[in-house]
């Protein structure tokens, strides 16, 4: 398995291939579509991430001291965004996540290219992942 830093670098590199934001959206849409199917029974209120305009669910599983995530959203671009987070942080130890700066988000320019409402949703997703990590440290 690749390291957290390698996974972050891979996402940054993939994003740098597109100049236009429309193309980046296209990439997020594809990423969202490829996300592992999220079981309907996991779509519970306690897995819902508050603060997003669309509905976003995050399921966290702890195994061998590592966190494993599954996520879904009824909006596909949001699904693409959360799937990036899942891809980067899946299999990390809680300590790795707690001490991480989530700087790759800035590097791909995601936050400044979302409306404040939507960026608020992105922050909520990051907070939720950090929260899960803290709970399991």
């Amino acid at each position: 398995m690749t390291s957290l830093e390698e996974r972050k670098a891979a996402v940054v590199e993939e994003f740098s291939m597109f100049d236009e934001w429309l193309d980046k959206y296209e990439y997020l849409i594809e990423t969202g579509k490829n996300l592992e199917v999220f079981p309907v029974e996991l779509k519970t209120d306690d897995r819902l991430i508050k603060g997003c305009q669309s509905r976003v669910w995050l399921d966290t599983r702890v195994e061998d001291g590592r966190l494993w995530f599954r996520a879904d959203s009824d909006a596909i671009i949001t699904k693409g965004i959360i799937s990036l987070l899942v891809r980067v942080y899946d299999g990390c130890t809680p300590a790795e996540i707690v001490s991480d700066s989530f700087d790759f988000i800035e590097k791909i320019g995601l936050r400044e290219n979302l409306s404040p409402t939507r960026a608020g949703g992105l922050n909520s997703m990051i907070e939720k992942i950090k929260e899960e990590a803290k709970r399991n440290v």
Partner: protein, 412 residues
């Protein structure tokens, strides 16, 4: 402002129309949220700040007199604009929301409602015309009843008589729905309600920029709207109320300039409308109603409204002929609708569509649009709304239709 029927010329009056976003020309189709501001409004606004900033109704000095005069001239202009019989029927507020809250509070503090009384609210109402009444109903043990809409978005006016029991004291309905764009038959509603002794509040927030409004002709008891949706400064709004009704209502906010005499044991209140205008008013913003009203009149002249009608038909035809798109609010007669289109797409989330359109330079609204009960009525989590103003062009409409199609395809 010189009358100029040419849309190209008119667009020059709205500098924001020349903005680019992400390197593309801005196509502003979120006019129902707030309309763009013309130069004349901004000039009046800055003039009031730069040259005539003084508090109104208080001091005797020159600048205070100018500021007071501008403020009161604006009241006269608004009264004339909506056909009120007197400027004293025009209360300035911070917007539609405050107007409704003021009314709900004051009616609630008067002897108007008794325990068990009822309020009818149209199913398509904006939260601003729903939640204040719900809160009041909780406080005063009142009952809220819903005037339903049909599948096409028009009100089920046939059901109104059955809903109107002797306990119904008030009915609240929008002149134009902010989601459906449908022009409701408010005059007919008033006639039916008044036969029952029920008062009517009309929310005109979406109407004032598009339709000639005459409260006398409508016959409503109260009419509320915001300045910022009719080209005036934000933070301005109006509560119109029939004089005899306003005169019998207790104040909303208490404080400066709304009093008659103040003693330690008792305070008596000023006459209307000052009774409802406590504290320092939006002294720079309110005078912009005058250039804003001129703008509305200019934009609704026959030549431009002809263009707007053509644009409305074009967008309607284009959207309704697309099998992927579901349109909400489709009266049989398209003239009963303002150029506002709320849609949903089966294969795409409204938020995704709005995000993609944004990157194409198009500003639209997505979400529940402050009308959650209406979203549930249509079984959707939200909609995408494109709301046009008279300064939007056919080219912009065509670009929107094309871009929407592209966004739908991207999301398939």
């Amino acid at each position: 402002m010189e009358l100029c029927p040419d849309i190209i010329e008119i667009r020059k009056q709205f500098p924001q129309l020349a903005e680019t976003v992400y390197g593309r020309p801005l196509v502003y189709l979120d006019n129902a949220a707030t309309s763009l501001r013309p130069v004349s409004v901004v000039e009046k606004w800055t003039e009031m700040s730069y040259r005539f900033n003084a508090n109104i109704h208080r001091a005797v000095h020159f600048t205070a007199n100018v500021a007071t005069e501008e403020f009161e001239k604006s009241r006269n202009a608004v009264a004339e604009f909506i056909g009120a019989s007197s400027a004293r029927e025009v209360v300035f507020t911070s917007g539609t929301t405050q107007s409704v809250n003021l009314l709900a509070y004051s009616l609630g503090n008067s002897s108007f409602f008794n325990k068990g009384d009822e309020i009818i609210i149209a199913e398509s109402e904006h939260h601003s015309d729903l939640v204040p009444w719900q809160q009041l109903a909780e406080r005063k043990s009142l009952k809220i009843k819903v005037l339903p809409i049909k599948d096409d978005g028009t009100l089920e006016i046939e059901k109104l008589s059955d809903l109107l029991t002797e306990k119904v004291k008030l009915l609240c309905a929008a002149h134009v729905s902010n989601v459906l764009g449908i022009i409701n038959p408010v005059k007919e509603i008033c006639e039916i309600c008044h036969r029952n002794g029920t008062l009517v509040l009309v929310d005109g927030a979406q109407a004032v920029a598009h339709l000639p409004v005459n409260v006398d002709e409508i016959g409503c008891d109260f009419y509320v709207f915001s300045g910022h949706k009719m080209f005036a400064a934000p933070g301005t709004g109006v509560l119109y109320g029939k004089k005899e009704l306003l005169e019998n209502l207790p104040p909303f906010l208490a404080g400066g300039e709304m009093i008659d005499t103040v003693n330690w044991d008792k305070t008596t209140f000023a006459a209307v409308p000052q009774r409802f205008e406590a504290g320092t008013q939006n002294i720079s913003g309110v005078p912009t109603f005058i250039p804003a009203i001129e703008t509305v009149k200019l934009l609704n002249n026959s030549k431009i409204s002809g263009e707007t009608e053509a644009l409305k038909s074009y967008v309607f035809q284009s959207l309704s002929s697309d099998p992927d798109i579901l349109l909400y609010g489709i009266p049989k007669d398209l003239s009963k609708k303002i150029p506002l289109f709320s849609i949903s797409v089966k294969s795409a989330h409204h938020e995704d569509l709005a995000l993609i359109l944004d990157k194409m330079g198009i500003a639209v609204r997505s979400g529940q649009m402050c009308a959650e009960p209406l979203m549930r009525r249509f079984g959707v989590s939200g909609m995408l709304r494109a709301s046009f103003a008279q300064y939007n062009t056919m080219d912009e409409a065509a670009y929107f239709v094309k871009s929407l199609r592209k966004a739908i395809d991207m999301l398939k």
